[in-house]
């Protein structure tokens, strides 16, 4: 079955990321099925606590208004990337057919970065009610336009390379440690990768939040 998927060009990373999407959807649906104002189910309680913590965090960065409107985008990015990073810690990840950390292939971070790029532009256009948003490329000086334009297009590139390089590099180090001494030596590196997976997910969603918040605020001041 998995060989069949491989033969039509579906990679392990795509299979894993789809499975992760389905699992996250299932958890969200089960957790939000009977929502009560005073949660009695433990799952709803845990989800609410986590989401609230994230909301407070992003509120500090994006500002109250932008966070209320665009929190779902950045929070989804954070949760999805976090689970994808941690999927590389599962036993046999990368060797078992159909299981590989999606973030360790360059296509996955690139897709997310493209989403962030277009989300930024769309938020800007929406908040300034039309293409007036692109005036910010000519501010504060019109002759800076080429630099501002390049900056917009470098953002997704650096987002992609940062996430991909960190996760891939970390996995490469673990696997080369594993080749040297299989017992014990990869462990400290894997412990470090728990921290790293969290930080990378945080950094990606933090930058997305800054870009989107900035677009929303630029639109206000045009």
């Amino acid at each position: 079955m998995i060989e069949k998927l491989h033969s039509i060009g579906i990679s392990n990373a795509m299979i894993t990321s789809t499975v992760i999407t389905l699992i996250l959807c299932a958890v969200a649906v089960i957790g939000g099925r009977r929502i009560e104002s005073v949660p009695s189910s433990k799952l709803q309680n845990a989800l609410e606590a986590g989401i609230e913590k994230l909301y407070r965090f992003f509120e500090d960065i994006m500002g109250e208004y932008a966070c209320r409107r665009y929190f779902p985008v950045v929070a989804t990015l954070f949760i999805y990337i976090l689970v994808c990073n941690y999927s590389g810690l599962l036993p046999m990840a990368g060797h078992f057919p159909g299981l590989a950390a999606p973030t360790s292939s360059i296509n996955f971070p690139m897709g997310l970065a493209v989403v962030v790029f277009f989300a930024t532009q769309i938020v800007g256009i929406r908040e300034s009610h039309g293409p007036r948003f692109f005036k910010h490329l000519f501010q504060p000086f019109a002759f800076l336009f080429p630099i501002m334009l390049v900056e917009q297009f470098v953002r997704p590139l650096s987002l992609t390379l940062r996430l991909y390089g960190n996760v891939f590099g970390e996995e490469a180090v673990v696997s080369s440690f594993f080749d040297m001494v299989p017992l014990g030596l990869p462990l400290p590196m894997q412990a470090l990768s728990i921290l790293m997976g969290f930080v990378q997910a945080l950094v990606f969603s933090l930058l997305a939040a800054i870009y989107i918040g900035e677009a929303a605020h630029t639109a206000e001041h045009l």
Binding site: S158, Y164, N166, G169
Partner: protein, 74 residues
């Protein structure tokens, strides 16, 4: 030719690790100083520090991205 490529890969990753490492060390030490002096803004400082570290980290990653194709050519 193989030797040249190997040395090139080593230089690419080596140099691009040293400079951001110094920068990250400076940033982290200053941030820790700030947190020790004013523990009440520790959360804010931590967020900003992680962001700054991420930008420096990107430079190392650029080196890695250059080095990996070189190593694959060996």
């Amino acid at each position: 030719m193989t030797t040249t490529i190997a040395i090139a890969a080593a230089i690419a990753i080596g140099l691009s690790t040293i400079a951001p490492a110094i920068g990250q060390g400076l940033a982290a030490s200053k941030a820790l100083e700030g947190m020790a002096r004013q523990p009440e803004v520790a959360g804010e400082i931590r967020t900003t520090m992680i962001l700054a570290l991420a930008f420096m980290e990107a430079l190392t990653i650029y080196g890695l991205v250059v080095a990996i194709p070189l190593v694959n050519k060996l």
